[in-house]
Symmetry: C2
Subunit: 220 residues, 2 copies
């Protein structure tokens, strides 16, 4: 059976995966880019083309890159929540929203978008097609596996989507980056997950960037 | 001026410094001893005499011990909250409560106990005297400095006491150990402290025990 994986999911030290006030001009709310700053300079992100100038052509190697680089290999489909796909507020009137990522999104696989407003699939360049589904986590996972051609499934966020898949015990491997900032408000990843550690082997490593990487691997 | 320091303060991955249901027979509530398990085997704790048999005579060295060992040096007085000094529930009727630590507590300095029910000082063996004060954090700190003979002041907990001293910007150095468990309920350390990181330089190191040690040093 293919694995269900989470990669590069960043939270603040106080557990928030996104700040308050998410909208078109601030996808992470009042958190701004602070949860992502450890990842932006890495080679993996630099080569996505969006941050190449800031990072230098090749980006950093090292422990942050070692984790960042694992997000794509072996993945056959992603599942994301509505709040990762589109802003909660500030959508331009009358225009079709086609995601935050431009015409050639970095996924290059089918992407299942969980939403209460299903619509026809949206095919983008580069192999990314968005499928809009009103479904439980288990149903979405079944659909993603159909689309994934035997590959693994990445749970791409946002915060409540990762939390719901954890609560439903559907996640096999998870990489969380804890950023040493206190957001104070927003959406918490860990709510309602008391005792989660008993289901996983957990490793921790601190990066010179200040981020702590945690890996969770399901106990078998 | 002497420093105000926090040492060996343990929280769960979801930010709880104590579980729910604190009482005489479970000082950390439903957390049990899980927040302390990284510290119990260390040489510092082993030599406190309370856990020597479990840990072997000398206890562990290594990164956990390197942090644990720093709690006493240079300290002239501790400040603790009522909830660290005595149970919220289950106090034996008619007996005077003399702390959790027996007749020779491990502090060996004056200890200011914040409480809404002040009473005369309680002198124990080994140099520990408890002073009971109904005071703000700043007032308690002033009193502790009078008692400390020029030494540093340790803020000993519990959770709300550390949080209140952070909120009042009275802490110079802080060591937090993040234990990779999810308690789900209890008292959160980080509530109301948005932006705390801007006041401190923060370092992180992961221990083979699974704990992540964070040090906060006030920016000057």
């Amino acid at each position: 059976m293919s694995l269900v994986r989470v990669h590069n999911f960043s939270i603040s030290l106080d557990g928030f995966g996104v700040g308050e006030g998410q909208r078109l001009d601030q996808p992470f709310g009042h958190a701004g880019t602070r949860l992502l700053e450890w990842a932006i300079p890495t080679r993996t992100f630099a080569r996505m083309g969006q941050h190449g100038e800031a990072a230098g052509a090749d980006g950093t190697t090292g422990v942050d890159e070692a984790f960042a680089s694992q997000w794509a290999a072996g993945i056959g489909a992603e599942i994301m929540g509505r709040n990762k796909f589109e802003p909660l507020a500030g959508l331009p009137d009358g225009e079709e929203w086609r995601g935050w990522w431009g015409e050639d999104p970095p996924f290059h696989t089918p992407v299942v978008v969980l939403t209460h407003e299903p619509r026809p699939p949206l095919e983008m360049a580069g192999g990314t097609t968005f499928y809009f589904l009103d479904a439980t986590p288990a149903e979405a996972l079944a659909r993603a596996r159909e689309l994934a051609g035997g590959g693994d499934i990445r749970i791409g966020g946002g915060t409540s989507t990762v939390r719901e898949f954890l609560a439903a015990d559907l996640i096999d491997e998870m990489h969380i980056a804890v950023v040493p900032i206190l957001l104070g408000r927003g959406e918490r990843l860990w709510d309602g997950l008391e005792g989660l550690e008993t289901r996983f082997r957990i490793e921790t490593v601190a990066s010179p960037s200040g981020v702590v990487h945690l890996t969770f691997a399901r106990r078998r």
